[in-house]
Structure formats: structure tokens, C-alpha cells
Point group: C2
Chain length 670, copies 2
């Protein structure tokens, strides 16, 4: 067993970290259960994680030393082995275990878009298409990808240029990449794995254009994996992270596919070339929302939780400089500036956790309605998911980087485990909807809601506050008043309302003075993004407050989580003070009080900080961090990992080739 | 010649980029000369850059595909070739060309700390030591490093644990790593190159401790490069970037070195073990400041300038979505949200450029004074350099990442050129003084200055504003008033003053109510960091304003640079609104006006944006970006680079080993 796999039982816990766990103010295991959603959920999660990390085939031990090709190969191996493992362990392939497996593997899997390929066929294919393709795909007899994004077109789907032209003579579609901007670009699994692709293309039939539709196209030989004639396909090359994924490009020159390869559950081209729409495909819109909902907890929050675990533990072990003259070097976690970097992020983890839970529940509620053909809540769900995706990806990505820098020089080493978290999670700001684009979609929803207030139309619950804005300024008289959730929630409500109202008025004024609507919108878009952010921020505070309330039967846990909620809210006021002051809700003096309350909370949370990240319950193998191991043997870890580096075992070719000719030969002189 | 080296003359400029350069409002070449510091400086820079990029040995063509080992080997090759090239071209090894060479090589060099090794010996060695070591080192007959940082100790030098104990019997020092936290960790060139190190160690002689001193220690054999007995040395392993640098670790077990190997210009151990101090080593303090001054322009600003060039050009080529209904997809640079991401950063490049120039001049002025034994300005220089290092590294690192995200999905590809800029420049927030530590040092200086006001002691020029704070609130009555530099400079002055005064009062109050000084300081440190930031921010605005004034004989250039200055200042007010509102300098309404002025500037700078980054005058080979080439053939570049990827030429081993056994054999069925 590798040294860094030795469990905490095998090595002494660094006394500096052990002391942090003495006399806890709450029962960590209880908090773990709460985060998991119950004792049984904790048990299941731990059982899966344990089975995965004990399996040597899944080992990530040498991952920081691997090349891109090795990472890709390892991911393929993991994925194929995972299928066997699921069977062997008797897990349900569609059960709750699967999420835990993926998380335990730290993302080192491949063929993830192959799953999207299957989901797309299941959702958009006819029963016959499903019957034909799903058995092949689920046994890896074909490997698929989902090819939508093009070199020149991402977010704006209507702009996609790949064409599918129906030829009634042969009953085929001709799939074509008319110019290089139409090259499919980015699809995962396309670079080196896929044999087939669901290609999104503009449908033409009988000289008419029918918009985007999905087509199954074979791109590589099943025998020798070589590209089929007319196909140009390959890997798009290195990225900031995701070394394990073979993102690819695809050009198709007049590729002919049978009519049956157009996925036809909702629309079809008949043999004579006529186009038939069948029912509403509104529900498909839902898939995109589902992805955004799922990524919150699985990808985005996960990264921040790990980074917080690592940086808080390290801060309790690392000693530096002088606080009290003459004393030994203090733990860096005792510096207020370090607390200010990390504790609000720990609080953010809890905020986003409860928010993700809330959004997930809302999603499932709406899903039930939609199955009853009730689409009323879809716009609200869309706005909620889009807003939270944009809000959480930004705050979590930035937060991971703050954690990394808070670890000083060692944070820059891959061994800290944080650089690879950052370079990966930052991608989430762009994929599944670029954040600025999403904020502007949310803003459009907010503008509609704001307009609905004028016409006294009913508002969705999440924007109900727009109809009854606070009319009085904040009444807080001292710092302690800011620990009242009512006080800060009203402040957030007022802020969101003011920014939304201000943007709406600006647009009205511009249009009123003759500007075209689209120009007025563009000239207000910076403020619209701010308004969207403020709205999502307000919702997270509101959701966090109700989560605290729901903990009433656990007074000790409730006390510490309440503190986190206060900290999260007051940190937001401290860092966005302008919004709270500008519209007169807070005075400068009240902001001083809020700041005092905020800084006071940092000191109060000091003793619970390590316990609060222990409650995220990551194993050392999941963190893969020399700085963040449970036992805090930081320096020992770093040194051991350096010795493991294969580079240190190889002969150094640079010496022989480059350095030796120069070096002084009479070493005795020195 | 590789396709991406084809100059703009060889390919048509993308019409979308060409149109941006039509009818310029100013002469770009003139602005280039101003940034370079004169026509002749532009000529020299271009001559050097051209000679370097034309030399095939220096080619960075395949850099994004290389492994760490290949990057390191390439850097060694570049460095050795550079020495020959300098001779061949007749350049001065200590002349202005050298900076241009390093920048043209994009940092792909090695043996950089070998230079620090030599500088340290030259500064701290006796004449005999210099005469012995410098000739050996300058001809690479020995390869040195500078070993200061330890596993357990970075910023706080007094905490270093390596010991050097004098043994009068043998006239040797015994250099020892007493525990693993004392392992030297991070020194560049140590991992795979150095034969010698200047080791910083706690000096002990005759049982007395004398603090940190530098010692020359041989660590590897000059014959076969193997570690000497008692030495454990190697590469610390992969980092977030700097693949070309072999950062290393070093443990020394009772290594004996002759008494002559202690660098003894300023202090010496005599044969009997007695310790002698010779003169003041205050001037050495200066070296650290010099590094911070130099990194501003050379490393930090460079990254932001390149990222701005890439993202602004790309934004003028990339088209997306819909602005005016029915129109073709607009350039993304026409969206206000995109302008708001990029234009303030272009303005920041100019701000930091003029600031770096100012700091550099100030540094040289103080240097002249110090040579006359006048150390009066040293504290101000230290605060200025530390403050600007912390301010600029943070703002530039964050800015590079904003540029990257503003390029959407393609920004995440290494081909964009931005990920590698970010992962590198972000390190500057930590090295050469961790930013928070530096801000607190600046704050200490500011607190002293603030106290000096009470005692009517004279103040250094950079803090003179503390003695005459603005007493009236802002008088601006409309948005246009905020384009008056006097108006925004006063606002910045007021903000810095208020934050400094507020922190000082808080400390006074805490101490007054019985807190110990060190606790009062720690409890105020979040506010002290804010005060330091506000002070540096104010100075950059002030310096920018005088730079604009100095352009009076170039009215067209002055007009556009003035706009950048306004934008820089108003962007800072927009994003830090709380500070300007809290102390009552601006009203909420005035902030609205400032915002209107700010957003108005974005639209006004739109037509100059590409020209303003063209003025940074980077060649395509320096940018190494598929998105940022001068001719804007973005999609062509991306596709060509993907085809160059060696991975796409290799046989795919994953197919044979892993995928083939699964794939469907009867392809005819499909």
C-alpha cells in the first residue's frame, strides 16, 4: 500500500490538527449525516467510496505525474472497469450509487458523452430507433458522441451551419460541413473514441429549411477505427484541464446516411421529403436544465468543498511569522486575513449545498407537473437553474483559487491538489451555458416579472418580493442586530429589488426617449447582469436561512450552521457594499456595524473551522492532496511525493547532452 | 515555415479585423513608440524580437504539445543557445537587449536562478570570493542556485531552520537540515541542474546563534552530476505552470564546507570562531525591491497585455447570437457586457505600464541617493514597490482569467494562448512576497505616516495627501463631471484617506480599551489590507493622470489615452462603490452619474479597442495564440493546430487494447 494511502489510524495525527478536533462544539458525524440526507445515505456513500478507492485498478496515486495520453488511457480503463465493478458489487446502474462512483473516481472517467449519445436517442428517437441503437450502445458495440458545438458557433444554436439535406431519390440525408466554421468542435469522446455521433444539423428538404435536427452519423470504421471516407476527425488538442477527455473535431463532406437516421420522435421527414412535426418537444428543453441542476452539486460545489478542506486543514498546520512578539510562530489560521479568505468560502459551501438541494427538489416538482402536461413553472425553473448555475460556478471557481493562494507557495504545487481542481472547475463558467448569457436570460425573466407587477399579474414564488419592496431603510442599531436573519434577508431583498427596478427603469427611459428596444437592452446589459446576480444571491441567502430553521431539533448543529449563514450573508454585504448603500437601505454607519459583526464571526468560527470541513467527509484518496490529508502530516507528504516522482528516478538526459560539456573538470579545486 | 508563422502579409486579414483598423482615430505607430519610450527603443526591441523568433532553435511552435521533460530540455537548450546568440549578434550581455530576448522567448529559459546565484555572490561575497566563483559560474563551469525557502518556511526568514555550525578544529562549517521542515524547497535550477547552491542558514559559532547567513555548498558531482554524500536532492515535481523550471528540494546531512565558503562581505567568522560584522548591509535589502520593480513590467503586465491583445482581437472576429432582430450575428465586441469585461483591462494595461515606469524611475532615484549613503527614501520605496507588486499581480492575474473566459469555449483550449499565461502569472501573487503579507507591510508604513500627521512630522510625497484630506463631498452634478480627472482623483484620495484613517482609529480604539497592540493589529488586518489596496489604487490613478498630461503635444493620442484613464478610474469606482459611498464622499445619485459616464466610455472606446491592443505590438510568435493572430484567421488557425497535434498522427493505442474487443463486428448492419 502506498504511503499516502495509509489511513489516519496508521500515522499519528499532527498534534496541531489533532488539537483542532478536541472538545468539538458539535457532533461532526451528525453534521455529515445532515449533509448526506440521512444516516443511511452516509453509509451507502461510504461503502461505495471505500470499494472504489480500495480497488487498485482505479488508483489515482501517480496522477500528477501522468501525461495527457496516460490520463486518457487511464480514464478509458476506469470506465470499462467501472461497468464490471457495478455488476460485481451488485449496484444499480441507474441508482444513487453511480453518482458516488463518479465522485470517488475524481472525474477520471471517459465515454461520458457516450452516455449523452444514449440519452439523446432515448429522448428524441422513435421506439424503433431506441430498440435498434440503445442495446448496441449500452454494450459498447458502438461508441457515440453528441456533436452540437461548432468552431464558429457555441451558445447560439440557431447559428449552427452543418447541413442535412434530404435526397428523396436515394432516401438519404446528405450531411455536410459547408465551411470550416461549421466543423464540429469540442464534443467529448470524439477525438479518439467514438464510432458514431448524433450530429445536430440544419435540415433542408425540398428546398426548404426546417432548423436544427439530430442525425446519427457513423464516423469511424468498427473494424479498424479509421475515419470513414469523407470524414475528417481527430483530437482538438490540449486544454487547461480535462486531460482524460478526448474532445474532438469533425468535418463531414457530403456524408450520406439513411432516412431512418434522423431522430424522429418529434419531427420526421417522409419519403417524399415532406416534413411532419409530431407533438411538442418542450420536454427536451428540460434535459438542458437537468444538466445544470446536476452539475451544481456534482462538479461545482465538489471542487470548492475539496479546496476548503485542503486549505483549512493546511492553515491549522502551517505556522508562520509572528503574531504576539516573542511567541512561537502561530498557525496561519489565526490570522484574521487568512480567516477572511477561507471561512466565508466554507460558509459558501454550505450555502450552495442547501441551494443545490433546493433547486433539485424544485426541479423534481416541476418534472411531475410537466408529466401532467403542466408547463406553467418551466420559465421559473429555467431562470432558477440558469441563475444558480451562473452564480455558483463563478463563486465556486473563484473560491477554489482563493483557497489555493491561501496555501502560499505550496498551493502552487500540483501536490496540493488545488490547481487541478481550479483548472477544471473554471470550465464550468463557460460550458452548459456561458455565464453572462445565462445571467441575461435570467434578467429577461426578471424584467418580465417586474413588468407583471405593474399589470398586477401573478408572480412566481421566487420573484414574489418584487411586488412588495421594503419601503423603510434598515433599522439595525448595532452590530448584533446584523445577526438577525430577518435584517440581512430584507437587505438582500432590497438590493435585488433596487437593481432590478433600476435596470427596468433605465430600459424604459431609453425606449421612451426613442432608442430601439434591442439597443436599450444592450446599453443596460451590465446592469442587468448585476441584477441577475443580486437576485440569485438573495435566493441563496433565503434558502440558507430556511435550512437553518429546519435544524431546530439539533441545537448545537443549528448554532454553528446559523453562524455560517450569518457569515455568508454579511460577507456578501461587506464585498458588495455599494449596492446596499447606493439606494439608501444601509447608512455608512450601519455598514460599519455589519462589518464589525462580520469580522466578529470570523473569530467565532475559528475553533469550528476544521470540524466544518471534516464534515464534508472526503477521504485522503479523494482529496489527493499533500496539504489536506486528514492527519495533517503535510511536510512528510510533500517530501514523500517528491521522492515518488518518476523524474527523480530517471537518468537526467540534460546533464549528458547539455551541461556536462561546460562543467568544470577539476573539482578538487573547489 | 510553419503555417502559423506566416506573417500578415502572407494571408489576407480577416475582413472583420481589417475593418477595425480602417480610419484610425490616432496613429498606432506613434503610440507604440510612446509605450517603448522612443522611436529608437521600438527599433531595438523589434530587431531583437525578430532575430529571436526567426531562429529555429528558439521555436516555440509545438510547445502546447510538449511534456514537462521536453519543456525543461528545451529551456536548457534555449538558454545555452542564447549565450551564443548574444555573442553572434554583438548584443551587450548586460544591455537593454537582454530584457527583450527573455520576453521574445516567452519565458522558455532555464538557469535563471543561476543568475541569482551569481548576483548574490557579487553582492555578498568578498573580492576574493567574487574572483574565485564568478568566472566559474559565468562560463557554466559550476551551476548554482539560491536556496532560501524551506518546506516549513517561506515569507518569514527568521524562521528558517537550516543550520551552519562553525567547527574551529577543522575550520569548517557544518551545514545541516535538522528536520524535514528545514528541507530547502522550491529553488529553481535545483531539481536537475545545479552543482552548487548558496544556502541560507542559521549561523552558530562558539555556541552562539548569529541569524541568517549565506554559504556556498557543493551539492552534485561535477563529473557525473550525482548528489554528493550526505546530500539528498531532486525535483519537487509538477506545478501549475513553469514546466520549464526544475524547482528542487535539498536536504543536507552534516555537510562540511570550508570557512571560506561563507559569503563574507558584510560579516565573517574568524578562525577562532568569533563573529565580525563589517559595515551595513542595508543595500542588500534593495535587491528584493529591485526584483519586485522589475517583475511589474516584465512578467505581470506582459501577461495582461498579451491576454488583452488576444481577447480583443478575437472579440472583433467572433460573431454570436443576435443583437438587432433579423440582423446577422454581431461581433461579440459589440455587446456591452463584453466591452465591460475587456476594455477596463486594456485601460489597466496602460495604467500599470505608466505606473511601472514611474516606480522604476523612483527606484533609480533612490538608488542614486543610497549610493551617497542617504537611506531616507528607502521606506517609501519599499512601500511603493511592495504595494504595487501586490496590487498589480492581483489585478493582472485576475484580468488574464477574465480575458480567457471572455473568449468562451475556445479560451479554454491551450491554443488560445491564455491558459498558460494565467497559470504562470498567478504565481506572482505568491512569490517575491505573498500579497497579503506585502499589503500589511504597506499598511504599517501607512499607519506610521498617519501617525506622523498627528505629530506634524514631514510625510513622504506618496502619502502627502494624508495631511490635507478633502473636507467637502464630491461636487459632480452630472455624468460629464466625472470625466474631469480632478473629480475622480479627489474621490480616490478621499477613499484612501478614509480607509487609512478608519483603520488607524480602530486600532487606537482597541488599544485604548485595553487590547494588546498585536491583537488590535490582527483584528484590523482585513481593513488594513483594504487601506493598502486603496492607497496603491489611488497612486495608479494619479500616475496615469500625469502620464496623460505629458502627452500634450500628441492631441489625438492624448484624447484616447485620456479616455482610458477615465475608464480605469471610473471602473474602479463602479466596482468598489461601497468605499466611495460609505464615508459620504459620493451620494447614490452621483454614483449613478459615474456609472453612466463609465458605461458611456465603453461605447466611446469601442472603435479604438483593436488599435489599442495592436499598440502593444506583439508578434504572432510571441502571442502563440490561435485566437489572437494579427490577421484574425481564428478558425483556420484552430483547425491547423489541431492537425499539427502529434496525438492525431499516432496510432491510437486505446482502440486496440480497450475498445476493439467491444465494438460491433457486423458493421454492415449499420
Amino acid at each position: 500500500m502506498a504511503w499516502w494511502k495509509v489511513s489516519s489510524a496508521g500515522r499519528d495525527v499532527n498534534p496541531d490538527l489533532a488539537s483542532e478536533r478536541e472538545n468539538p462544539s458539535f457532533h461532526v458525524e451528525t453534521l455529515i449525516n445532515i449533509l448526506d440526507g440521512g444516516v443511511e445515505e452516509t453509509r451507502v456513500r461510504r461503502a461505495v467510496v471505500s470499494a472504489i478507492i480500495k480497488d487498485p485498478i482505479f488508483s489515482r496515486e501517480y496522477i500528477y505525474f501522468k501525461t495527457r495520453s496516460e490520463r486518457f488511457e487511464g480514464a478509458i480503463r476506469n470506465t470499462l472497469h467501472m461497468k464490471r465493478k457495478i455488476k460485481e458489487m451488485g449496484w444499480d446502474e441507474n441508482g444513487r450509487e453511480v453518482e458516488h462512483i463518479y465522485r470517488a473516481l475524481g472525474g477520471e472517467t471517459a465515454l461520458n458523452i457516450h452516455n449523452i449519445f444514449m440519452k439523446t436517442i432515448s429522448a428524441l428517437g422513435t421506439d424503433e430507433q431506441i430498440a435498434k441503437w440503445i442495446p448496441l450502445a449500452s454494450n459498447y458495440k458502438v461508441l457515440g458522441t453528441y456533436a452540437q458545438t461548432e468552431l464558429g458557433h457555441g451558445t447560439y444554436l440557431r447559428g449552427l451551419e452543418t447541413t442535412a439535406t434530404f435526397d428523396p431519390k436515394t432516401q438519404e440525408f446528405i450531411i455536410d460541413t459547408p465551411q470550416i466554421t461549421a466543423t464540429k468542435w469540442w464534443p467529448g469522446d470524439l477525438g479518439k473514441s467514438s464510432t458514431h455521433a448524433v450530429v445536430l444539423a440544419q435540415l433542408y428538404s425540398n428546398g426548404k429549411k426546417y432548423g436544427m435536427h439530430p442525425f446519427i452519423v457513423q464516423i469511424r470504421s468498427l473494424k479498424d477505427h479509421s475515419p470513414l471516407p469523407g470524414i475528417s476527425v481527430g483530437d482538438i488538442g490540449p486544454k487547461m484541464s480535462f486531460e482524460n477527455v478526448d474532445n474532438g473535431f469533425l468535418m463531414m463532406r457530403n456524408i450520406r446516411i439513411p432516412r431512418e437516421n434522423m431522430l424522429s420522435r418529434y419531427s420526421q421527414v417522409l419519403p417524399d421529403g415532406s416534413y411532419v412535426k409530431k407533438g411538442s418537444d418542450k420536454i427536451n428543453y428540460f434535459t438542458m436544465i437537468a444538466v445544470r441542476v446536476n452539475m451544481l452539486r456534482g462538479e461545482v460545489l465538489e471542487a470548492l468543498m475539496k479546496a476548503c478542506t485542503i486549505s483549512v486543514r493546511y492553515s491549522a498546520v502551517r505556522r508562520q511569522s509572528e503574531l504576539k512578539p516573542g511567541d512561537i510562530e502561530p498557525k496561519i489560521i489565526d490570522y484574521q486575513t487568512q480567516q477572511q479568505k477561507l471561512f466565508p468560502l466554507v460558509a459558501t459551501c454550505y450555502a450552495i449545498h442547501f441551494t443545490a438541494q433546493y433547486v433539485d427538489k424544485f426541479y423534481h416538482d416541476v418534472y411531475s407537473e410537466i408529466r401532467k402536461e403542466d408547463f406553467n413553472s418551466l420559465p421559473e425553473l429555467h431562470a432558477l437553474a440558469a441563475g444558480m448555475k451562473a452564480y455558483a460556478t463563478e463563486i465556486c471557481s473563484n473560491g477554489v483559487e482563493v483557497c489555493r493562494k491561501a496555501c502560499g507557495g505550496h498551493g502552487y504545487s500540483l501536490y496540493s491538489g488545488i490547481p487541478s481542481l481550479y483548472t477544471k472547475v473554471t470550465a464550468s463558467c463557460t460550458y452548459e451555458g456561458e455565464n453572462t448569457v445565462l445571467h441575461l436570460q435570467v434578467a429577461r425573466f426578471l424584467m418580465k416579472c417586474f413588468a407583471a407587477v405593474q399589470t398586477r399579474s401573478p408572480l412566481p414564488a421566487s420573484t414574489a418580493y418584487l411586488s412588495s419592496p421594503a419601503t423603510d431603510a434598515c433599522t439595525a442599531r448595532n452590530a448584533a442586530d446584523f445577526l438577525d436573519p430577518e435584517v440581512y434577508l430584507t437587505a438582500y431583498e432590497f438590493r435585488a429589488y433596487s437593481l432590478i427596478a433600476s435596470a427596468a427603469h433605465k430600459i424604459q427611459n431609453l425606449v421612451g426617449s426613442g432608442a430601439e428596444q434591442y439597443l436599450a437592452w444592450n446599453s443596460t446589459s451590465v446592469e442587468l447582469v448585476k441584477a441577475s446576480l443580486a437576485h440569485s444571491h438573495y435566493l441563496t441567502v433565503k434558502i440558507f436561512i430556511s435550512a437553518v430553521t429546519s435544524l431546530s431539533d439539533q441545537p448545537e448543529i443549528k448554532a454553528v450552521v446559523k453562524r455560517l449563514c450569518d457569515l455568508y450573508a454579511l460577507h456578501g454585504i461587506f464585498t458588495n457594499a455599494g449596492d446596499f448603500l447606493q439606494y439608501g437601505y444601509l447608512t455608512g454607519k450601519q455598514l460599519d456595524m455589519a462589518t464589525t459583526a462580520y469580522l466578529g464571526l470570523l473569530a467565532k468560527l475559528r475553533k469550528d473551522a476544521v470540524l466544518l470541513v471534516d464534515a464534508f467527509d472526503y477521504t485522503d484518496e479523494q482529496l489527493l492532496s499533500a496539504l489536506g490529508s486528514y492527519d495533517g502530516n503535510v511536510y512528510h507528504n510533500l517530501l514523500e511525493w517528491a521522492h515518488k516522482n518518476p523524474e527523480n528516478k530517471k537518468v537526467n538526459p540534460v546533464f549528458e547532452t547539455y551541461l556536462k560539456p561546460f562543467l568544470h573538470s577539476h573539482s578538487s579545486k573547489l
